[in-house]
Symmetry: C2
Subunit: 579 residues, 2 copies
């Protein structure tokens, strides 16, 4: 049935050029950013793809690109229309593109795009993968619904089923923050662009949504929340008592190339402690992060790699390294380099071979925090800066033990976390299987808030992003289900008892339950299947005969068991059953 | 102490011009948009304002404007510095601007802006109103924090205390929606601009944040969620079973003149039912809205005014009016017009005097929905369209009674809600005292979703805005307190017992409590005052002696009572006490 058009098959100039040109001409996003190969298929009746079809069928929602590709895929093209349009015009039923084409007269061809099943799944494109790991172009409908208006690439419509799962993870993160006494704040989604120049310079600003508003102000959609928080802390520096412990979950926007796990709009929960320099605050931040994974059910699947930049810096100095900033930059890349590459990079910043050896050794120190701190204390040079830094790590290790999270914490002297603005503790959370990229990271940034006002304010915190953690949860079978849930559906058997159903539903809602009742006037069978669709735990069947006895029928939707319950005890009984 | 500079006093060109010029020169927002008079005060020791001060003190956060105004307020100006900077330089304590100035040597002057207390309150500017209903310029700090970077006008930094109150109201709205089986969705904050052209035309687009992104797409920050929802419904029209019941709370953005209750960034909760044409769905929407106010504790302070456009249209037709659209536009304005103006407006759209009289009478029908429906049924003309419309209202009234909300619903035939896109039910919620503007409104819009795709999908819903409801709650003393709350603060009396305090805090958190412990190493007195500041219900005092007896001291922060509790039963005991 299918004839895949490989790179140089049929398409003038080859597949890649064809797609790229069509994309450019018609304003579509570049599909090769999807990563995996994307292929076009032309198809015809009985596998015979005509060179000059009388009609080319394309999926609705992709007409323009379909037309462009048809023009390049066939020697000559007749009418181009959608599968649905063709079905309507020829008065045949339309359920399946392949079937439609199989039943079509000679000379009709179809065209669609296929992507690998895994790509489709990653990007939420595929809802119905078909044989051979491909899914139809039709599944792109969520992205390209009408010919004219689609959601933006890297932005997502999250429907109720999917968002139920997101909400559950967000709730876990937020409830953990609340337990630790972090307080919710709420900040603008749009800021003056200059706010981001203070900290980030122009580089980050190349990746923002920045524009002039109608009052000619340069403004930017918040790409991160730290500058806003710094402004807020400065603004109320007299009134706020320390520690200032804040959290907030909201969206951030960055104009970046869309990739797996990197969207243009994404949720982030920022959790910070301002105004306290102590190791106790460092430990609380790490403990809060660890507790999130405990509550998500994957505590033993996550490692926290910790380091203190002051420790690394002191030890580098003790090794005779003066240009510690440059050397730490090299260390930051160590993970990505081979041993010879690492040594060459060190040589490039003026570190001699012997010292490079010791730097390599030093930054290879890694292990469970308790033991590794002891090891470190023994081999650390006896200068004051190192001693202080080691003591700080010792205190941190003790405190993490008190929080009961030391077992998931590893000290790793190669962790630097860029050079942006961290001044002490740095940490990153990793999948302990090592399959996924870093889940998120954080650290201490004592100098940053001072850039936004008159006062120096120490700070430690992290920004929790959701995508990698959701991947981890999925792999571990711990992702909250992508489905809505309902306590009770109240089903009136006829319109005449609908008011009673409404009344009963109201009582159950007052008890705090999630309750739906019929809004359509449809029959009991349809109502039961709707109740099933919303995953109702119980359905109450409200019939005239039962009501005459002051009763209703309570159906357990999981087992199908039914029993009569008196109206007078109904709410209590259902609440108890569901508790 | 103060010498207010009235319009033409001292300031060259008068106060208004001075401020306006300074504002323009220095890029500040126009203060006259605040509405109420804004005044400058210069002050000096013993009320003597020097003509040529050696130093002019200005509030921090307003240095540039302060400098500009100083230059215009005095004949000659020496050093301009902040109150805080002056205090630091001269090594005097700084608690109060007036006191600072009173203690200053001759030749030092201070300057600040005053606004009326009510203006300050309205715009959230004032935190400490002082004598005579004025509050200091210092309170502008939240808007003008540093000399350089301020938050945008109409956008707000919501600190933890204030947002606790917001969160409580949002939670009430969302939990009500959940009880009714509305499901949370999540949608992009940025859409292609053309999405808004479908429904709203260019007029709304003049008031949006619209721009070209880095990929040259015309995009807009969502000014409302309905077009996005319409797109989503169309996109999954095959897969979604009806009724589709969605809610979502998120921000909207509109570039409008900032006024009381009209911000450029604001929260909105959209609650809709798609795919069902029934009166039952209409009633559920109104019931959900009414239940929100019940849970907010102001059920008896809100009236819902309902109408059905089909009813009004049918009755206008029965009166011989053919251009019902035009006439309904006039009816929409009726509330704002005097009787002669209303009749004139009707005459302008071709309604003769006698008919105008009947239209006036018709659109004066208003009252409790149950009685008014009966009255209406009696006097309604006996044509089919009217009969159907009246029956629909009768069914609605019955259904609202079943929901237990009929008593807060009034039928009011003058309610039209613009002419944008409503097709049936329209309603608005009002403060029953009649002091505030409409709290919010909603209705049925069966034709709108069809504009965004292939399928007609009936819909009914409302968008709940927060500002007017928060005003109502404030007036009624029902606004959730603007303060954070804490279950337990755990206070170690010394660093040596800090790990035990951390451990105890962890156990309490596992029980779901909000718990803080010391992160600063400060003394018990300071800890207790911090615990007081975060409104902790209990403080657990962890001392070495108590610990030796396996006990801690539990202090009730409200009464000051203290008792010893065994560590073994501590969590249970505290959880029980706080339950």
């Amino acid at each position: 049935m299918e004839e895949l058009l490989a790179d140089d098959d049929r398409c003038l100039g080859g597949f890649a050029e064809t797609v790229t040109t069509a994309m450019a001409e018609y304003g579509y996003e570049r599909v090769d950013a999807l990563g995996d190969p994307v292929q076009w298929a032309a198809m015809g009746r009985d596998g015979a793809v005509p060179a000059a079809p009388t009609s080319v069928l394309v999926p609705s929602g992709f007409q323009r690109l379909g037309r462009a590709l048809a023009g390049r895929s066939f020697e000559r093209v007749g009418r181009v229309e959608t599968y649905a349009g063709y079905a309507q015009r020829t008065q045949v039923p339309f359920e399946d593109e392949e079937q439609l084409l199989a039943d079509a007269p000679e000379g009709v061809a179809g065209i669609y795009m296929t992507v690998s099943g895994s790509t489709a799944a990653e990007y939420g494109l595929g809802v119905e993968p078909v044989d051979g790991g491909v899914s139809r172009l039709g599944v792109f409908e969520t992205e390209t619904m009408t010919d004219e208006i689609t959601s933006l690439k890297g932005f997502y419509d999250r429907y109720a089923d999917e968002f139920a799962s997101w909400r559950s993870v967000i709730d876990t993160v937020e409830s953990t923050a609340r337990e630790f006494g972090f307080r919710e704040v709420n900040t603008p989604a749009v800021e003056r662009t200059e706010l981001y120049r203070v900290k980030s310079g122009e580089e980050l600003l190349d990746q923002t949504y920045s524009f002039e508003d109608r009052g000619d102000r340069e403004v930017t959609l918040t790409p991160e929340q730290t500058p806003t928080r710094a402004r807020m802390v400065q603004s109320r520096r007299q009134a706020l008592s320390t520690p200032i412990k804040w959290f907030d979950t909201s969206k951030r926007w960055r104009y970046e190339q869309v990739q797996k796990g990197r969207d243009r709009e994404f949720f982030q929960t920022d959790i910070d402690i301002f105004g306290v320099e102590s190791v106790a605050a460092d430990a609380e931040i790490v403990a809060c992060a660890a507790r999130i994974y405990e509550k998500l059910g994957v505590r033993d699947r996550v490692d926290f790699l910790l380091n203190d930049r002051r420790l690394l810096e002191a030890m580098l100095r003790a090794e005779g390294v003066d240009n510690t900033t440059q050397v730490m930059q090299v260390v930051d890349d160590k993970e990505k380099l081979t041993r010879p590459e690492f040594h060459e990079a060190l040589a490039n910043v003026g570190v001699d071979g012997e010292t490079a050896e010791r730097v390599d050794e030093l930054t290879s120190i890694a292990g469970p925090i308790g033991e590794t701190v002891e090891e470190l204390a023994e081999r650390a040079p006896d200068d004051e800066a190192t001693r202080e830094a080691v003591e700080r790590i010792e205190t941190l290790a003790d405190r993490l033990a008190a929080y009961g999270v030391a077992d998931v914490c590893r000290l790793d002297l190669s962790i630097v976390r860029g050079l942006a603005y961290y001044t002490g503790l740095v940490f990153e959370a990793f999948d302990s299987e090592g399959e996924l990229r870093a889940l998120f990271g954080g650290g201490r940034y004592d100098d940053l808030v001072g850039l936004f006002g008159d006062r120096e304010v120490p700070a430690v915190g992290f920004a929790f992003g959701y995508s990698p953690t959701r991947e981890l949860l999925q792999r571990e079978g711990k992702l909250p289900p992508e489905t809505v849930t309902t306590d009770v559906y109240v089903a009136p058997v006829s319109e005449s008892v609908a008011p009673e159903a409404v009344d009963i539903a109201g009582d159950l809602r007052e008890a705090g339950l999630t309750v739906e009742t019929d809004l359509t006037g449809r029959g009991l069978g349809d109502q039961l299947s709707y109740a099933d669709g919303i995953a109702a735990s119980r359905t109450l069947i409200v019939g005239e005969r039962d009501l005459a006895n002051d009763e209703v029928t309570v159906r357990d939707m999981a087992t199908g068991d039914e029993r009569q319950v008196a109206l007078s005890t109904l709410t209590e009984s259902v609440v108890d059953e569901l508790a």
